[in-house]
């Protein structure tokens, strides 16, 4: 239970952190470049804590690095949303807004939960993801309420991401749905956007069934530690 939850949360943070790092040096403005890199950095820190806990729960003497760098894609438990390609800036913002809003609600609940170790990480990370969610919501409003092109691109980005949002609420996380729906609705309304029409949700990441994108991410992320297993920082 602890292992499944912490592996999922750690993998979400690790994979999205990696995706965001792909923007480094390529973002539309310097300020956005700094923002996406900083959010990615926060997520990598969270991944390290959650995967450290997951490794401990597993009890096979592995550590967070071993989980990050020595598992194959079918062993990853991140949701499909975070492994989706960045697309353009609007799609990246749509993904971040949908994900960070969910993470904020989840961490608020976990920070009050029974497991002291998970509560400590969630309580710490909550401050960070609240800031991420607020940053992303600001950009959703700015793009949605911006030019015809920024509006169109954000609609496309939301449409792309929407099918992966059902997966955020499977199992124990179902209780977060109504508050998340309300928040997403409010921000999209302020941005002059409609909530995307319901689509058939795609799930599987929590069971290790991933899109082909994850393998490509891992091939880049894991290359160095796999080729040079003795490398140290």
């Amino acid at each position: 239970m602890v292992q499944a939850l912490t592996t999922g949360l750690g993998d979400d943070a690790l994979i999205l952190g990696h995706r965001l790092s792909e923007w480094c040096g390529h973002a539309p403005t310097l300020e956005v470049d700094l923002a996406l890199a900083n959010i990615g950095l926060d997520l990598l820190g969270q991944a390290q804590f959650f995967l450290g806990l997951a490794a401990e729960a597993e009890g096979h003497g592995r550590d967070a690095d071993a989980l990050a760098y020595r598992r194959t894609e079918d062993e990853f438990r991140n949701c499909l949303l975070v492994e989706q390609p960045n697309g353009d800036f609007a799609r990246t913002i749509a993904r971040q807004f949908l994900f960070s809003s969910w993470q904020e609600l989840l961490f608020r609940a976990l920070a009050q939960g029974n497991d002291a170790c998970i509560a400590a990480i969630a309580g710490k990370a909550l401050k960070e993801v609240t800031y991420h969610a607020s940053f992303a919501a600001d950009w959703v409003i700015r793009l949605g309420d911006g030019t015809a092109e920024s509006h169109r691109r954000l609609v496309d980005g939301l449409d792309w991401c929407w099918r992966f949002t059902d997966e955020l609420f499977v199992g124990d996380h179902a209780a977060l749905r109504s508050e998340w729906d309300a928040r997403v609705h409010d921000v999209l309304a302020e941005a002059g956007l409609q909530v995307p029409k319901p689509v058939r949700g795609i799930i599987g990441g929590r069971d290790g069934k991933h899109s082909e994108h994850l393998g490509h991410i891992l091939s880049e992320m894991q290359y160095l530690p796999r080729v040079y297993p003795d490398a140290v920082w």
């Binding site: 923002a35 820190g45 509560a119 400590a120 990480i121 309580g123 710490k124 960070e128």
Partner: protein, 165 residues
């Protein structure tokens, strides 16, 4: 051994020592100013409790290394260092002296509890160059995880603002 000192004296000496160890990214602040050194728990072995500012702060490793070196050099070799996340670090723990040092260094210090409650850093920062309260945010993220980028409308200087968390 130095660590055989009475707990209160040991704790005072270790804290005094770390009041001279700078933060690697904002060297004008000591680790004590920053509020990340939480306690020295009695041993054996005595354990120094350190908390990170941000989960992914890249300075965390350098900070632990510089604590280790400072402790070893002062003869506190057997003091252990332990990272604890809870209670989560807040900018309220930056000391008053630390806030003044930040201001003098050109970084607008964070507000205390009242500002933290606001969802965003909506309170205008005070320009550390000219003291004007007419300032605006340029970027929600700055050169390190703990800072945002602001600009003074009065003297036109950009400046870092410590994010309030």
């Amino acid at each position: 051994m130095l660590t055989d000192l009475p707990q209160a004296e040991l704790s005072a000496r270790v804290f005094d020592l770390l009041a001279h160890v700078p933060d690697p990214e904002i060297p004008v602040l000591s680790l004590i100013d920053l509020g990340i050194i939480r306690a020295l728990r009695p041993g054996p072995p005595p354990t120094l409790i350190v908390t990170p500012t941000y989960s992914g702060c890249p300075a965390s490793i350098a900070i632990n290394q510089s604590i280790r070196v400072a402790l070893d050099n002062a003869g506190f070799d057997d003091v252990q260092i332990k990272t604890e996340l809870s209670p989560a670090w807040t900018t309220d723990w930056i000391s008053e002296a630390g806030r003044q040092k930040l201001h003098a260094y050109g970084i607008a210090p964070p507000e205390t509890a009242a500002g933290r409650l606001a969802r965003k850093d909506t309170l205008p920062a005070i320009c550390p160059q000219c003291g004007s309260a007419s300032t605006s945010e340029i970027s929600r993220f700055g050169s390190t995880p703990c800072k945002a980028l602001w600009r003074c409308n009065q003297c036109a200087e950009p400046f870092d603002r410590f994010k309030c968390i």
